[in-house]
């Protein structure tokens, strides 16, 4: 897909945007933290002292150790260990991978579906547009956690099911935004010019309207990733999300809940901190990006 196209409208806008972005020191710090988190998740197998899935590496005698305890194998449980003798730091690094990939994957699938439906709706006959938008309104009037819970209660559990649920709660939002933006673009002169040149509707939508609608939407999607991660963690905590074989951060927290009342806080506490830092840094970066791009957003939607 030709994502570079709209960016070339201004003189080197990437540097422009980044220069504007860098004026906020908190946002820069958040970006750095986010980069570190991503690197930690990608290189989890290299960084973690233990493979938390390899039962041979776990020592049941090392279970529920305090943070900072020494393992029999010689490394240190910097963040303690859980009831199976799993090193919490390793479990968190591997959990980050699962949480991040589920969040990113579901957001981009939802984005793709939402963009498609939104564009169809903007160009469809009025009755089809009406039906689609009624459906979108209907869905957006319910909280996303309720919709995800209903879906999971009906279809059951599993990694694929949770991705489906996360996609289902997000697509409507994009569809509505894209439809609005596309209707604004449709009335602009360049689209009229393209029509005068007798380009097909399909070409106008894909080559002219889509590139102008997409960039602000990708910024919105960045923030949505944080929501998706938080929702997945919540569902996993409730026992309706990820299966035990793929322990995301939410499942790690749920796992530690049982030990919280006996004072072993670290099994829940540290995965939660990792989750919190991830969500906050994504939100801060996304908010700043939106602020920087705001003049363009405003001109796009006339708000």
């Amino acid at each position: 897909m030709n994502l570079a196209l709209p960016v070339t409208r201004h003189s080197s806008p990437v540097t422009q945007v980044f220069g504007e972005f860098a004026r906020d020191r908190i946002a820069i710090a958040a970006l750095l933290v986010l980069a570190l988190i991503l690197l930690a998740a990608i290189f989890a197998p290299l960084l973690s002292p233990q493979n938390p899935y390899n039962l041979a590496e776990l020592d049941i005698l090392d279970s529920k150790l305090m943070p900072g305890s020494r393992a029999a194998e010689g490394f240190t449980y910097w963040l303690g260990s859980d009831e199976q003798g799993r090193d919490m730091l390793s479990a968190i690094l591997y959990g980050l991978r699962i949480s991040l990939s589920v969040g990113v994957l579901s957001t981009f699938v939802a984005l793709a579906i939402g963009v498609l439906v939104g564009l169809v709706s903007a160009y469809a006959s009025s009755w089809l547009d009406d039906i689609i938008m009624r459906l979108v309104d209907l869905q957006l009037s319910f909280p996303s956690i309720l919709i995800a819970l209903i879906l999971l209660a009906v279809v059951g559990q599993g990694v694929d099911k949770i991705v489906i649920a996360l996609v289902a709660v997000q697509w409507a939002y994009y569809a509505r935004t894209v439809r609005g933006a596309a209707l604004v673009e449709k009335k602009k002169e360049y689209v009229e010019a393209a029509r005068v040149m007798a380009f097909s509707t399909r070409r106008i939508v894909l080559r002219h309207i889509l590139p102008n609608v997409l960039p602000p939407l990708i910024v919105v999607a960045t923030v949505q990733i944080a929501h998706a991660i938080a929702l997945e963690a919540t569902l996993s905590f409730l026992g309706l999300g990820m299966p035990i074989t793929s322990p995301s951060l939410g499942l790690l927290i749920a796992n530690g809940f049982a030990h919280l009342l006996s004072g072993r806080y670290w099994i829940s506490f540290f995965p939660g901190v990792a989750l919190l830092v991830t969500i906050v840094s994504i939100n801060l970066v996304g908010d700043r990006l939106r602020d920087v791009l705001n003049p363009r957003l405003a001109s796009h939607y006339g708000t």
Binding site: V154, T234, D287
Partner: protein, 325 residues
């Protein structure tokens, strides 16, 4: 106005039918309804008998018809685990959830609006920035994790508050409530705070944005130019104008509080509908799940209807433009 109300009411009824059909299709038509609705320990003969008794040998449209008729009569099947009508079970748990959600709303409004006002009046001062930072944190913090940390600090470390349950209740008009006893209040405090966190952050943002916008309006500048004190301008002119969206959002968000209560109730073992739903999902008690979904749908459609009608009363533009969008 009456035609708008009627049209809106019709729309709500339509939504209910569509959603009930979806729930029905989801629970009864996808997969094997016999496996879902009948005790897994049953033998061949029992399954055949139960299939007939449940009407599962009839065509699908007839099954849906019977389901709807049953729903109107308040009969949504019996719970497998408790062996009482599912609707009873849920209505029995409803007061606990409503009490929790109402307390959370009160907490969010009592703290969110004043803090948002301060942040809106002094947006660049340290206090305004601190409040906004707190609000961003409140948005980002995973609610369920905050609940765990509350238990860790106040129950495990300090030992001030009980971690789970509802405590001692008193009957008011036949409905058990917690907030009238000391023990009940102590039990209520943490879950309500936890549930209020998100709404509280939302109200800070809303109030702050509304205040800042109002302050730049001509009527505020005019009132100031007339020589009115800042305090009076804020109290009379600003507050009155920002209250409409705040009241609307608070009412509209009440439904989402009830949905989020599912999480809070699970953490604090609060005996409400949400905890019942999660317990029922865990033991595959499908009639209770269906009953919960239909009741919560009804609640949401009703809340949306009330808010839309209230909006139409407050703002004539809504009813003139008809369908909206």
């Amino acid at each position: 106005m009456i035609s708008f109300a009627l049209r809106r009411l019709l729309q709500s009824v339509l939504v209910l039918f569509v959603m009930s059909a979806l729930v029905f299709a989801g629970v009864y038509a996808i997969g094997d309804p016999v496996a879902i609705l009948i005790n897994p320990q049953a033998d061949q003969a029992e399954i055949a008998a139960a299939t007939r008794a449940l009407g599962l040998d009839q065509p699908l449209w007839l099954q849906y018809w019977n389901f709807i008729i049953g729903a109107f009569a308040g009969d949504l099947g019996k719970s497998f685990s408790a062996n009482v009508p599912a609707v009873h079970l849920i209505l029995q748990r409803m007061p606990a959830t409503l009490e929790l959600a109402l307390t959370a709303t009160v907490i969010a409004v009592a703290f969110g609006i004043p803090l948002g006002l301060v942040a809106g009046l002094k947006p660049v001062s340290w206090i305004g920035r601190t409040i906004m930072a707190g609000s961003i944190l409140g948005f980002s913090l995973p609610t369920f994790w905050v609940g765990l940390m509350l238990i860790m600090v106040f129950s495990v470390w300090l030992g001030w508050l009980p971690p789970t349950g509802r405590g001692e209740t008193v009957e008011v008009f036949g409905v058990p409530v917690s907030f009238l006893t000391r023990d009940g209040l102590l039990h209520l405090l943490m879950p309500a705070l936890n549930l209020a966190l998100f709404k509280f952050s939302l109200l800070i943002r809303l109030t702050r944005a509304g205040t800042r916008e109002a302050l730049s309006q001509d009527y505020v500048r005019f009132a100031r130019a007339k020589g009115l004190s800042m305090e009076r301008v804020v109290r009379i002119h600003v507050l009155k104008n920002i209250m409409i969206p705040i009241v609307t959002v608070t009412a509209l968000e009440f439904g989402s509080l009830i949905a989020f209560a599912i999480v809070t109730e699970t953490i604090f073992a609060w005996p409400g509908m949400g905890k019942l739903l999660i317990d029922s999902i865990n033991v595959l008690d499908r009639p209770v799940i269906v009953a919960y979904l239909l009741i919560i749908l009804l609640l949401f459609v009703f809340l949306n209807l009330v808010v839309d009608l209230a909006y139409a009363v407050l703002d004539p533009r809504v009813r003139i433009s008809g369908h909206g969008t």
